[in-house]
Symmetry: C2
Subunit: 525 residues, 2 copies
């Protein structure tokens, strides 16, 4: 963590857009959307003035606790549009009283014990990249708050080459995790957009969506066993390749968003590093035709690694072209995948896809899109500074309802943008993951903001989008998680009896409701 | 259900071995194992005399309740060696007081309501094919017992061809389920050994292992949403192809073995019926070499449909040959799979496999094995009647421990057979499912029995096998479920805090502990 994090926005201080890039971006957007002449200035450390911390850590813990304002401000929010805008407005609501960064699992135990003693809320913090209010303190809870930053738990502890698995600490970020696996010829190959600044434990706790567009889409499938610290003790599941012994203990922790324990380590299933690759890009005249091709591919049993459909607006914004594009890719460490790709291309053509004859085009479009993908959150920060609304949301839906659902969600979002005067605006859609029985549509919104009213504008638009998603039968989140922002939609989506069971399961391991209270369920009936 | 079930043993009355087949079997086994001259006679209905039922169903329910002795005896046990032997010995311990077969979900609700009113235990009963004491009444509970037989909930309610999914009632058995899907060109393609006499709800409740040897091994992966009746109400999850909204509600019901609710329906992901197939058989000089080939295949990303390794004893018993055999198969509804098979054969050869040059051999060996597979439980009944111990057990283990684990479990089983004078005996092993990080070894035991002491002999051997499995890091069950028989091993395998959470989750939906009390957890601390 020597490299400085950008406490008010995405990623690292040294990796944002340069002033020259900001100017180029503004010039590129200005023909379509009203852009502020002077971008908002990022806050500087000396501008932060927080109420003094209400906690004084005891000596054993104090050594790795941070009570200064910048650390506390940097751990107040995640990185959604709403979070970045509040930080740009110098509003630090409900900052944690301190940031504890224990060096090991014993330290995590010590923090939970101490928090129990002093009646403090504990918010597990991985990379802080949540875009759903997942690392924010509860609004309706007056207890002091500890942000439990796990970044020092960053080791690959053990590698089992035979089983292609490794025991990995929960706080490790993507790049350092991969760096430790590389000498073994292995990779987790989990590349969410937040890869640089998110952690293994965070991925598991939020059911992160990764590299693979089909088959193994969520981190869930790569979890072999989990070790977690709860207020009543440590729990660890058995390492098994598969089991039918009762409901899976891991599946209760996967997606638990910090309310059932702090994930300190996990045995993860790994991949051999791929050596064979083949890719292609198919252009479609309509998004719907592209989606039908994606469906056929999802149901073909070919299991492409990449099968992302970008609508024309999306492709345009990311510089990937002017058509609806289906990016197709196969990779393997075992065998050439050209035959797989050839059949996939046939399928794309069956649905009207025009496939680039030259492999180079495919590589170019894919590379262009991937680089834009990883850089997008930094660009988002600049767009927010330019006065715009810039945000994404995502869902999943079965194929039978897919076309009308996407059309309805898009229309509801556009209508509400107009209704709140966030217009002109652009709503684009891509499919990030494809299943035999449905797909995960991902929406990007870029719209004119109304100065200080931007937060409320977006709040209204997001509420309308969630309403359209839930009413249409989708999920409030495919891979961004629930956090505090999606709680109203989640409450309508999940079965009530399951919520009651989740509450009961939480009470068993967290009777005082220290851990992320109010996320997923209200701990008290 | 017009076709009569064999109330004392496996399957249907008309499908067991004929007396001539019994004689052939005895003659084939006699050179190796001591076979009784006169097989035990199956019990006849007039031999059953049970204590009178302690329950009188009210009128609305009485119409579909069975109180006669044969129905109650037929629902007393599952179909394990222990179950069949007790039935052959005319011992019906703790029979249910009645068998309720509601015609629809409202009837299920009515039974649970009534059971709550009269304080009766309810045991959900699908096909009754449990081999782990999963449908047996608790030994330490004096309440009257209702066997809730779901076979009348047997409809495919709705088919969604676009998403390749169907809403299916929980009580349907395999053959009728497939018959209803066939006109749509679709199939669930879930073929556990119990396929003929087990139900969809049972498969989900027990995390049944199915057709696919790699990738999608358990029924778990094919569940899109579940509907279940609990004592406090009906619960239903949302149909989604994927979601990251909190822990999966379905994954808590999958494997819940009837303690959290009665599964009345589920949306299931289906397959197109395969039209392309390719298969091969590879012979290995050692089981370990075959396992290394299986591991390479499991890690190759080829995802063979069939990848079963039979040890030489297993192959001999089932008539599939004299070597350690790896049965390899690929199938697809979309594309020829010959290239896939060709690469799999290369891999098998890399590990010393001798692959049949002619495709016919592969089909023959596979067909021989499959037919023996489906017939095996009927043969088991005959072997029990001949005085032998005949049983199977299974587990899963990661590759790093695989060889020593299998050797140790086999040795512990053989030693204990000797120690209890169940000798001569044979312990064979096959791999039923193969994962990138491990495999599921399945053991078959055939041994000399000591007359009336056979139950105790087997009890001692099974306990030793479980001890070896649990101590060696395996799971007490890969796909047979926990039931009452595996509870001691399960208690050591699953995390204690998870058991407490499961108990809490049960209390929410079943506060009076009506449903399968004592399975998975003791409902009362």
């Amino acid at each position: 963590m020597d490299r400085a994090r950008r406490f008010w926005g995405w990623g690292y201080d040294d990796a944002g857009l340069t002033p020259a890039e900001d100017a180029t971006l503004a010039a590129r957007i200005a023909p379509f959307l009203p852009v502020d002449e002077t971008p908002m200035a990022p806050p500087t450390p000396d501008e932060i003035q927080l109420a003094p911390p209400r906690l004084t850590p005891p000596g054993a813990i104090a050594a790795w606790c941070d009570l200064d304002d910048v650390a506390r401000a940097g751990h107040t929010y995640g990185k959604s549009f709403r979070d970045v805008l509040r930080a740009l407005e110098r509003r630090w609501e409900r900052p944690p009283d301190l940031v504890a960064s224990p060096p090991d699992e014993a330290g995590v135990v010590a923090v939970l014990d101490w928090a129990g003693d002093v009646g403090a809320v504990v918010i597990p913090y991985g990379g802080g990249s949540s875009v759903v209010g997942g690392v924010e303190a509860p609004a309706d809870d007056d207890r002091p708050v500890v942000s439990l930053d796990l970044h020092r738990l960053d080791r690959v502890v053990e590698v089992d080459v035979d089983s292609r698995a490794a025991l990995i600490e929960g706080g490790v970020f993507g790049p350092f995790l991969e760096a430790q696996l590389r000498p073994h010829g292995l990779t987790l190959r989990h590349f969410p957009q937040s890869f640089e600044v998110s952690s293994l434990g965070g991925w598991i706790a939020t059911r992160s969506g990764g590299h693979f567009a089909t088959l193994h889409t969520h981190i869930d499938e790569f979890v072999e066993s989990i070790r977690a610290v709860t207020p009543v003790g440590v729990t660890e599941s058995r390492r098994l390749p598969g089991s039918g012994a009762g409901p899976s203990p891991d599946r209760l922790l996967i997606g638990s968003e910090g309310i059932l324990g702090v994930i300190t380590a996990a045995w993860m299933r790994l991949q051999d590093r791929p050596t064979f690759r083949a890719s292609a890009v198919a252009q479609f005249s309509t998004f719907e035709a592209g989606a039908r091709a994606a469906r056929a591919l999802g149901q073909s049993g070919l299991w492409p690694t990449n099968c992302r459909l970008l609508d024309a607006g999306e492709a345009l914004i990311t510089g990937a072209g002017h058509h609806h594009l289906l990016l197709l890719g196969f990779e393997s460490a075992d065998h050439p995948v050209d035959d797989w790709l050839a059949r996939a291309v046939e399928l794309a053509r069956d649905f009207g896809g025009v496939v680039s004859p030259r492999e180079d085009d495919a590589h170019d479009a894919t590379a262009t899109w991937r680089s834009a993908f990883l850089r997008a959150p930094y660009v988002r920060d600049s767009l927010v500074r330019l006065g715009l609304i810039s945000e994404t949301f995502e869902t999943a839906i079965t194929w039978d309802r897919f076309e009308s659902f996407v059309a309805h969600v898009r229309a509801a979002t556009e209508e509400t943008l107009r209704a709140v005067d966030a217009w002109p605006g652009i709503v684009t859609c891509r499919l990030t993951h494809v299943y035999p029985d449905g797909a995960a549509p991902y929406f990007t919104v870029l719209a004119a903001g109304a100065g200080p009213g931007r937060l409320d504008q977006w709040g209204t638009v997001k509420a309308a989008a969630i309403e359209a998603i839930i009413a249409g039968g989708g999920t409030v989140t495919h891979h961004h998680a629930v956090g505090r922002d999606h709680r109203p939609g989640y409450d309508r989506e999940r079965p009530d009896l399951f919520a009651a069971q989740l509450r009961a399961a939480k009470r068993v391991v967290d009777p005082a409701a220290l851990l992320n209270p109010g996320v997923l369920v209200d701990p008290i009936d």
